[in-house]
Structures are given as C-alpha cells and as structure tokens.
Symmetry: C3
Subunit: 116 residues, 3 copies
C-alpha cells in the first residue's frame, strides 16, 4: 500500500474542471513521487463524458496518466442515464456500480478526497 | 452505527447542484443499501434556499428522502443572513449552529465528505 | 494539537468563492472557538490570485484572519505558471511545493477537507 492514496471527484464536463484535474494529478505525482501516491479518478454525472474515446489533448493525457498507474473509473448509473456503453469509453477506464458509492468506499478505506 | 456515514455539502442554490445532489443520494442508497449508509446533507450559504417550503419536484424528493432516513440540516448563520426563519424551511430540516462547523465535526467523527 | 484541524481548498478566482471562503472561516471560528480549531487555506491553480497584494476588502480580511492564526498557503507550481513571484503575495502567505500535495499530506495527517 502506498503512503498516499487519493481520489479525485469529477462530476462536471467542462474544459476548466478537466484541465484543472489533469494538472492537479501531474503536480501531485511530481510533488509526492510516483512510488508514493496511488491515484484514482472517479467520474460520475456529466463527468463521465470526459472519459469517452474522442481524440483530443485531454484523452491523450488521460491515457498517458493511466499508463503511469492512475486508475480511472466511471459511474455505471451515469453511463446508463447518458445512454453510453462500455465500448465508447477510453480503453483504460473501468466501470464502477456508482461513482458516489466508490468515493464513499474509498474514503472509508482511508483514501483522501479532492474535488477539483 | 452504520458501516458508511456520508455528509453532502450543499453551498450553492442552482438547479444543477441540487439535482446532482439528489441523484447522488438516490444512487448511493441503491449501491450501498439503505441499512448500510447514514446520510446527512448540510446546507450553508446560498444552499439553504434549497430547503425552503416551495412546492416543486426538488422539495417532494427531499421530503421522500427524509422519510427514508436522510437527515437535512441548514446553517443558522446563513438562515439569519438571508433573513429566513425556521418556519420557512421544509418540515424535516434541522438547524445547526454553523454549516461548516457541522461538516468539520462530522468529518472529525469519521464521516466522509462529498461535494456535489 | 487543536481538537479540529481544517483545510480549505481554494482553486478558483472569483468573488463568489473567495467571499464564501472568508465567511466560512469566520463562522467556523465563531462556532468552534478560536482555541479549538486550526485552519489552513490552500490556494492552487487560479486560486492563488486571491492572495496577491491588492488593496481591497478581501485582502484586508485575509490579513486579519492571518493575525488570528489562520494559515494561508499558495501552490509554487501555480505561482510559477501564472508568472508571479513571492513578493507579489500578501505578507502572511507561505508557498508550498504543490497545493494538491499539501491538501493530500494534511488530510493524511487527519485534517478535514472543505471545498467552498
């Protein structure tokens, strides 16, 4: 288990929140060191739109961060409500039963919460 | 004491935040099960406006969630500043000395924090 | 060590978020008592702009709160990206390596998180 475990909560779909999120993650890895921090991004509500396959600079950056060990998850309920399917999401994204449930379970396990 | 205890922080008064909040709560109860999760919504600043008696779909949903055991609280300081009184609030809402104080005390007791 | 330790996360630069933040802090001190609560404000991303020397009611209030023991920190990475230097910041502000790193370290030490 790494020293620091962090969940980021992404629940909007706008350029500002996603840009801030990705910068936050880069900075956090630089500050604490890749080996010391475990990161999960939980997307729910409109936030799941940020994890769709759609070639742009955000998706490139998400795939690069996933390669570095950042774990991206999307809320099954939001995906269903927006009318998406698993194959529309970027390769490394996993689906969780509910985004809020995931945030609650992780925090209860001792992960810390950041809302960008 | 239930396995999961969650405080939701409502500090804006706009349709998007309140709709997201109520969806979050529904999904959380579905995911974790009504018997496993204790939920409190803390409204402060402009967020207290969401808890006023005003017949609409939000207030109906708030009353239904309260019947299911979700606890709604409003910040006394915000209520005073906005010029409201207790009788203007929905029946099940309780007043706390300060919304932020409530959020701090609950988290210090081990509750986890979600800001929709 | 005080009974309650709280970090506030400031990552936007708009009048609403900064006004809400400063009110939150005032109310929290009133509610819990100055001797019982230790407060740190962590500014990152555009939030660091709120801590610049610029005579207005916000900066006056920040200096007053700092005199009362509230600790204000700004993210070094954000300061660099915006092209600022230490001397542009209000006197009592300290610089931290990264705002998100600070938020993660504090929470891991048991501080609670509020995002106004």
């Amino acid at each position: 288990m790494k020293q620091y475990r962090v969940i980021f909560h992404l629940d909007e779909y706008n350029g500002v929140q996603i840009t801030t999120l990705l910068k936050n993650i880069e900075n956090l890895i630089t500050d604490l060191g890749e080996n010391n921090v475990q990161i999960e991004v939980v997307a729910n509500a409109e936030g799941v739109n940020a994890l769709l396959k759609r070639p742009n600079s955000h998706t490139d950056q998400i795939v690069k961060l996933a390669d570095k060990g950042v774990y991206f998850t999307a809320c099954a309920i939001a995906i269903h409500q927006i009318g998406l399917t698993k194959d529309k999401l970027l390769e490394p994204v996993d689906i969780v039963r509910s985004g809020i449930g995931e945030l609650v379970k992780r925090q209860t396990q001792g992960w810390v919460y950041i809302r960008p």
